[in-house]
Amino acid sequence: MSNSPPTLYLDPQIRDWVLFPITFVMILVGLLRHYVVILLQSPPKKLSRAGIREQRALVRSQVLRATSARSPIPPAHYKALSQHLIDSYEAGTYLKDGPPKNDAPSSPPNPLTDPAAMDSMMAGMKTQMVMMVPQMIMMGWINFFFQGFVLIKLPFPLTLGFKSMLQRGIETPDMHVRWVSSLSWYFLNFFGLNGLYRLLLGGDNSADSSRDMMTTPFASMGAAQLGQPQDFAKLFKAERDNLEFSEGLYTWIGEDIDSKVLRKYGKLSPRSD
């Protein structure tokens, strides 16, 4: 039994008929995935006027608060604006469906019943299907056809723990871990072709498998967040509190501007403090 690495000699036909085909097929599948995702993407949903208004309503108070400590507008104007926004947020005039009509507490839109949320969740799930299905098919195909023989010798050493995974189907307790089966070549390609995809398809491509690894575990949470994210009523209430807080911080830059300018030009003696 030859178990010293340099003496194991592989049939060159293995290289021609397994190594290159697996790589070639994976590249093609990756390209296919990329274009299928592009075709499947539906155009982003357009919001109605009220929807956009609701989305941007927070900007008004943020703009007001951003300059609150050195505000360009006099106190009367600032307080009027601030009060107006507080009242509007309280009454919910910026909400998409108008202010709540009765005492029923407004609940965040349920993702299952809100059609807009459903659409975006479906879109997310569709792309994930496209990502996962080719992977499973490929693994099945490799397991079926290319099982039971050693394919390559890895150029880097590994610990014994990898033996069971990388040499599946080859029951040899003594063979060095560097000799691996075709399934491990699949995994190597899986992670390694990202660079090639980036070269061929540009940076933001959908054939990139590393993105699958990251998104799949978080799919359910992400879908729930992206689908119908914000409960605007709650956000408005929070913003109301922020506005009241900022009112306390407010100063007008024009407050003592006359003394400041006089001092600047030497008409008034500089302050002693």
Binding site: R49, R56, I257, D258, L262, K264, L268
Partner: protein
């Protein structure tokens, strides 16, 4: 001028957002005649749009129609082409037709910003100012951060002599762009016209503070330039009126208090204006109008 250099010039106009309509038209006609734009690929559509706008500006509606036809053949449902078509319609058809066209488009797609803005402008241009104000207010309610929209609203109010409302619109502008002294100056002058002198004075002083940045030496020895001079004029006007008429000094719609040392401010303004008009110009001449200014500041 060859087609190639014409194309280069037009591309330069596009990148600098320059609106030299007559030159654009001349170069564009040259390009169109030789069909030079067909080889440009994707940029040719930008060129056609630019040329169409220039042609409408100058009045050559036939050239505009040519460009518009090519664009609408290529992009049948495009909102951008619709906007161009609307502009072309405004140039020749009666305004009601254009208005109806815009209304149709807005019904189909309520958030087409370009069309909404054109509708507002058309309403203002045809004199339906109340409707224009209503539409513009709705627009700004949805798209709060459009600074030009707020400026347009302020302009409309000022043109109807409603200076308090104009001031309110300008205060939104100031919130959005607080670092621009030109808008503060506009607010100061609007406040002055509205009769709120203490507020106006404080805003003029704010402009002075913002715009006069002389790093070398002390401020007292520097010469005011540019927008600062205009602000000093404003300060002088305010302080003169306020010291003459105490009632005006205390009556402020925004409850702004008058400054404590109003005479000192008046003196400072006088001195600064004298300095502004005393410095020798580039050719060594004295500023023209110097005598007029000196006489005015001495006894307004």
């Amino acid at each position: 001028m060859s087609v190639h250099s014409a194309l280069q010039e037009l591309a330069r106009y596009r990148s600098q957002n320059k609106r030299a309509s007559q030159e654009t038209l001349e170069k564009g006609i040259l390009v169109l005649k030789k069909n030079g734009h067909k080889k440009m690929g994707d940029e040719s559509w930008d060129l056609l749009e630019q040329l169409a706008l220039a042609a409408i500006d100058v009045g050559r509606l036939d050239v505009a129609d040519q460009c518009l036809k090519q664009l609408s053949d290529k992009f049948p449902q495009s909102p951008r082409v619709d906007c161009l078509r609307g502009i072309r319609m405004e140039a020749s058809a009666p305004p009601e037709d254009a208005l109806r066209y815009y209304d149709e488009l807005l019904e189909a797609d309520a958030i087409n910003v370009a069309i909404w803005k054109r509708k507002i402008v058309l309403l203002r241009r045809t004199g339906q100012v109340e409707k224009a104000v209503v539409e513009l207010s709705q627009y700004l309610d949805t798209f709060y951060t459009d600074v030009e929209g707020w400026l347009e609203l302020a302009d409309i109010y000022a043109s109807c002599n409603q200076y308090e409302y104009s001031l309110q619109a300008l205060s939104h502008t100031l919130l959005l762009v607080p670092q621009n002294p030109v808008y503060v100056l506009q607010s100061a002058e609007t406040a002055y016209t509205a009769g709120d002198l203490p507020l106006s004075l404080k805003m003029f002083l704010t402009v002075v503070d913002m715009s006069d940045n002389d790093d070398s030496g002390s401020f007292a020895e520097s010469t005011p330039l540019g927008i600062t001079v205009r602000a000093w004029y404003g300060v002088k006007l305010c302080t003169d009126r306020m010291s003459r008429d105490a009632r005006v000094a205390t009556m402020s719609a925004s409850s702004t208090l008058p400054p404590k040392d109003i005479d000192l401010v008046n003196e400072l303004a006088t001195e600064r204006l004298r300095v502004a008009y005393s410095s020798a110009g580039q050719k060594g001449d004295m500023a023209c109008g110097r005598d007029v200014v000196f006489r005015w500041v001495a006894c307004p």
